[in-house]
């Protein structure tokens, strides 16, 4: 079992190193002629104005918030799904009730219009 995690560790190192080498290779062989004009931010030919790190559209954060709830729910459901064969019927129903509560939350968010893109 420990062996498997060692393999994943090795694999992750390889998976990072190979793209890293590919990205670093052009640093050695590609030409380098930087200029201020070249480094300008692209904006369809006009000069870019202002800072981009500003506050904008809160809609994105609402999606993130709802996503968080459901993602945590799914993490709880994985053990339930694995053990389903050995669980008594009561525990299965309990899982269904858990899903139903969060489903009610989804419907509430929908009715409130939180999920309507505007």
């Amino acid at each position: 079992m420990l062996n498997y995690w060692l393999y994943i560790g090795i694999f992750l190192v390889v998976a990072v190193v190979v793209p890293l080498v590919a990205v670093l290779l052009p640093v050695l062989i590609a030409p380098k002629k930087p200029s201020a004009r070249k480094e300008e931010v692209y904006e369809c030919g006009i000069e870019s104005k202002g800072n981009i790190r500003i506050q904008f559209k809160s809609q994105y954060y609402i999606y993130a918030l709802i996503f968080l709830i459901f993602d945590i729910e799914v993490i709880f459901l994985f053990p339930w799904a694995v053990a389903l064969g050995e669980l008594p019927i009561f525990a299965v129903v309990e899982g269904v009730i858990f899903i139903a509560i969060l489903f009610a939350g989804l419907i509430y968010a929908m009715r409130k219009g939180a999920l309507a893109w505007s």
């Binding site: 992750l12 793209p19 052009p26 300008e40 870019s48 993130a64 459901f70 053990a83 299965v92």
Partner: protein, 399 residues
Amino acid sequence: MADLINLIENWIKNLLLGWGASAGLTGFILQALGSVLVVMVCFAIVIVLIWVERKLAGRLQDRFGPNRAGPYGIFQSFADMIKIFTKEYVTPAGAEKGLYNIAPVLAMASVLAIWAVFPFAVNVIGADIHVGVLYIVAVGAFGILAILMAGWSSNNKYALLGASRSVAMLISYEIPMVIALLVPVLLSHSMKLSVIVEAQEPWFIFVAPLAALIFSISSMAEIGKAPFDLLEAESELVAGYHTEYSGMKFGMFYVAEFLHQFTVGALITIFFLGGWTGPMAVRWPILGVIYFYGKSLFIYLVISWIRLSLPRIRIDEMLDLNWRFLIPVSFVNLVAVAIADRVMMEFTLARWIYVLVMFGMNMFILWAALAIAERNDQAVEREEFPPRPVAVPPGVDSK
């Protein structure tokens, strides 16, 4: 007759032991060789797939596709590689250097890392961990982080908009994808990928067709290609989150996208199409590897076909499809499958009756969901905007 894969593995093992390496070191070297092999095969596949995809795109859209470099243009990818490796990097002014440079590597690594747990054939599996499904979901989510890092760090308004939009979209579609993944876990009572593959009697696409459908749609959205290619809608966002990237850093995003599409094909194969199983696959594992890659390639081509045939959909339509259709349907499907599976376990039923009941139930849920969606379609109709004013030349009668 020993199988080719085991033969090579034993040969290397005996060779190393013969040289006087300890058992631990031998295992380490074998694992390192295995992981390098898997990663290299991924890159080799992508180089071929880029050509296949471009040729297919050309043919489906009544063009030639690449046809200059070599016969049928098969060396096009290599020509592109030489070009992209010798291209200058341009870092935009005001970019957040660290994040800007890490993002492409992270995008690629997040897709590659998924391959660590794939079962390629019977007993040919990198890491057969107990939480394989969770590992896939967790590691796959790093790709979203890479997109946000790329968009935010490159100091470009289009990139930031594209990144925020794609993150909203990708995390939304992550929910039905993971809930659909619960169904194979539930049917095989395990999160181990090898167990899930071996439990498929028959393939889960027949036992749980609705989960397969939901998983396919939402993973297609996760890839971010048409009809869900809002990440880089050319007409709206220039190129989305990688507007400011060039050279090999852009190349990494590009390769990661293609590899992700193939990885989704592999995931659908593992969870719903029986993975490496097939005639004689247990006797000769090498056949299992061929079946695995063959099925993945088939799914890859189907996804390409879909994406080359359909136009892009609007972001509000796309989020509506997810929150108002896919998520409720996947929840109902999960509950129905769980109850049906548990209830039928109480009786000793023949396998074919079990499969028939499951299949019928899935089809009924799909039909009911479509009927309800069609009925509610009028309710979510958007308000009509007044016609836009149009400049009319003087002397022309405007109506």
